[in-house]
Amino acid sequence: MNPLLDIKNLSLDIGGTPILRDISLSVGHGEICGIAGESGSGKSLTALSVMGLLPMGAQRRGVVRLNGNDLFRRSEAEMCQIRGREIGMIFQEPMTALNPLKTIGSQITETLHTHSKISKAEANEIALEKLARVGLGGGRISENTYPHELSGGQRQRVMIAQAIAWQPALLIADEPTTALDVTTQAGILELLRDLVDNEGLSIMLISHDLAVLADMADHVSIMENGAIVEGGATEPLFRGHRHPYTQKLFAAASHIPIQPLAKFREPLLTVENLRISYRKKSTKLFGKATKFEAVSDVSLQILEGESVGLVGESGCGKSTLARAILGLQPIDTGRIELAGATIASVNNPEAEMRKGKAISSPAGLQQIVFQDPYGSFNPRHKVGRLIAEPFHAIPDAPSGKEMVLRIDAALEEVGLSSTDRDKYIHEFSGGQRQRIAIARALVIKPKLILLDEAVSALDVSIRAQILDLLAELRVTHGLSYLFISHDLSVVRAITDRVLVMLNGQILESGKTSEVLSAPHHDYTKQLIAFTPQIPADWISQ
């Protein structure tokens, strides 16, 4: 039987620059075909070439057949009939992929109305049926809901509902779970698997996460620089990957930096009975504002030179806790002490309330590195000035030549050179930017660095390098880390101890290896069970 989708020698140029070279792959009926690779390898553009939704100035060659129908020979009008009807597509960002001004029901029925003249009532009926199919039925989610009223996972389900509304034979899923929490991701992957098993859907699944593909795909193609370097059935490929790039990718994905010997002395950070709440405005007229407790009664300690992981899904209070430790967040009650200095302390909330919530931040003991290496720098300042910024926080800040020397030293420590000082941030890659962010944190010699999803946006090979750098800096400077992440594999790689957080509370804490191998709490067990993993016997050889 012919494959459903057959791509032969697909090449793509955009504005004269070659982007894809000789891509050949096929998706069989009822199969999940995985495409792996790092950002910029051409995964998404391969998918968009199939859909015929390429940017202006794109030139594609080769043959793409869907059920024997040569897609490159179809006119734009004919392609409109194929998109949504024969091929559905879902994307990475469920937050922005739905129109914020239209109800989810109308966005699902739109797929139906675009391809046939069915009545409103009929379309509505199908929309409700599809909402139920993706797990949003039973009156829990009305079709009159707007996207902003849904969670990320629910939005991704709506995306799937509108993509499969016409029952296309092929679904292209471009990083469908990358922006989601582990538990939510598990639900979406299960739904996709169910659609394949029970409705004969075929999926072209694009992901940078090898573990997701190991779990889902029947066969996988590995892409690098616009070409497929290796491909084949998933298990043999994962067991015996031969191409040097594939080997590099697998090594980086499971990379564990060499850890310093654990010898911790004094407590560095002490958080006691911390409570932080937000006021939530009522949506009703004259309704009372409600209190939402983001952090409730949290106590924790980080020792000098210790690396502690903080895991939990989005909205669990991780970031609020981090802000409080940085001294940026007013607290309700509790105490935060860092290296003997009090960052925040509120004992009697009634009395403190009248004065306004107390915050103070001791000079330069703690610094932070954020997730987004693109958004966390002012693009109009030179790197030297960006790195010098934290000097404002310390009383004995160096100036003139001495300051320049300190900046250069910080740059060299993160593997950049002093010539980078006069460049602008756009001249650097994502990994280099994250190095600059670390240099900025390092320059005032802090005791504690908070790493808020600091490697989540990076490709696996870059992530491995940054993890190595962090491990090395920890030894040379005796640094402590609070490593906030939803990615358990990274936490496993770099932390000594781990805290598991849910609904503003710390459920479980202990040595990372122990908690992750023998979790006590049900939530931790669930978290670990839902984290996709490459089966151990596939890699142990």
Binding site: P100, L101, T114, E149
Partner: protein
């Protein structure tokens, strides 16, 4: 939605109160005594005093403010110092020129700008885009009074299609009046339309690069359908803001155009009021304009909520 409207309404009321206070105080500190202005420089001291008493200028400031405010709430704007007729009469006679002119100009500007912006954005980088961008650049650069004079010299003097100025009055019939307002409205609308078209274009371009546009295309909508069904309404949100600001400008800022076309509008009334120290006229008209501006902003806020469910159902 109810909560949103009530909050907006409270903001409106407070803004009005604050604005009235500021307007009153500013005119108090401006030099120039209305009484001496009315009686001329040779007036006797006791005549002046009598005049001031008659006008109520001898009372304490707070009391005058409160009675001014109270009067306005009951529709009594006081009596003009110079014309000796109720201010409300003066305003009423003129507002029926200024308001229709502003609305007319705004409709023209929107009718020109929205399609122009749409065409420019959906044909980005092509001839039609360049044409729209070039024309709007010109429209912003040309002073509107100069453009108004060109319009008069072509359409009124050479071709004799329209009269060169003046206003016949609404009792002469709707179409005759609209004819008299057409040239001034075009002159007012041109720069506004140019700005609005550019806002529309950039807003639409921004919207077209959003993820949900790609989603719509992946569902099988054509480029054109996508623009209409998804991009247009989202792109309208910033355009609404500008339309609100422009209406405020058009209703108050038409002084020069009113002068070019000899239209007895609010702009001219306020101009005369200032030169003649007719404080009560100035105060009342300025307050009225502030009221109009704040009301328009209120309406724009409501329009936001109608367009954007995130405001309606937070």
């Amino acid at each position: 939605m109810v909560r949103y409207i009530v909050t907006r309404f409270c903001v409106l009321s407070v803004s009005l109160l604050v604005a009235s206070g500021i307007i009153f105080t500013m005119l108090e500190v401006v030099p120039g005594d209305p009484a001496s202005f009315m009686l001329g420089i040779n007036a006797e001291a006791d005549t002046l005093a009598a005049m001031r008493r008659e006008l109520g200028l001898d009372q304490p400031m707070l009391q005058r403010y409160l009675s001014w405010l109270g009067g306005m709430l009951t529709g009594d704007f006081g009596i003009s110092y110079t014309y000796r007729v109720p201010v409300s009469e003066l305003v009423m006679a003129r507002i029926w020129i200024s308001l229709p002119l502003a609305i007319f100009a705004l409709i023209l500007s929107t009718l020109i700008a929205v399609p122009a912006g749409l065409i420019a954005a959906s044909r980005r980088g092509r001839v039609s885009d360049w044409t729209v961008m070039g024309t709007t650049q010109l429209g912003i650069a040309i002073p509107n009074f100069w453009f108004a004079m060109i319009l008069v010299s072509i359409f009124a003097i050479k071709l004799r299609w329209f009269s060169a100025g003046g206003f016949p009055g609404w009792d002469q019939g709707f179409w005759i009046c609209m004819q008299a307002l057409l040239l001034p409205a075009i002159a007012l609308a041109l720069p506004q339309a140019s700005i609005l078209a550019r806002v529309m274009r950039s807003s639409l371009l921004e919207t077209l690069s959003q993820d949900y546009i790609r989603t719509a295309r992946a569902k099988g909508l054509s480029q054109r359908r996508t623009v209409w069904a998804h991009a247009f309404r989202n792109a309208l949100i910033p355009v609404l803001t500008i339309i609100g600001l422009q209406f405020s400008f058009l209703i108050a800022g038409a002084i020069i155009i009113e002068n070019v076309f000899f239209l007895p509008g609010l702009g001219r009334l306020i101009f005369q009021g200032i030169t003649q120290r007719d404080l009560i006229v100035v105060e009342s008209v300025v307050m009225l304009l502030v009221f109009a501006v704040i009301c328009v902003n209120f309406l724009v806020d409501i329009a936001y909520a109608l367009v954007d469910p995130r405001l309606r159902r937070p």
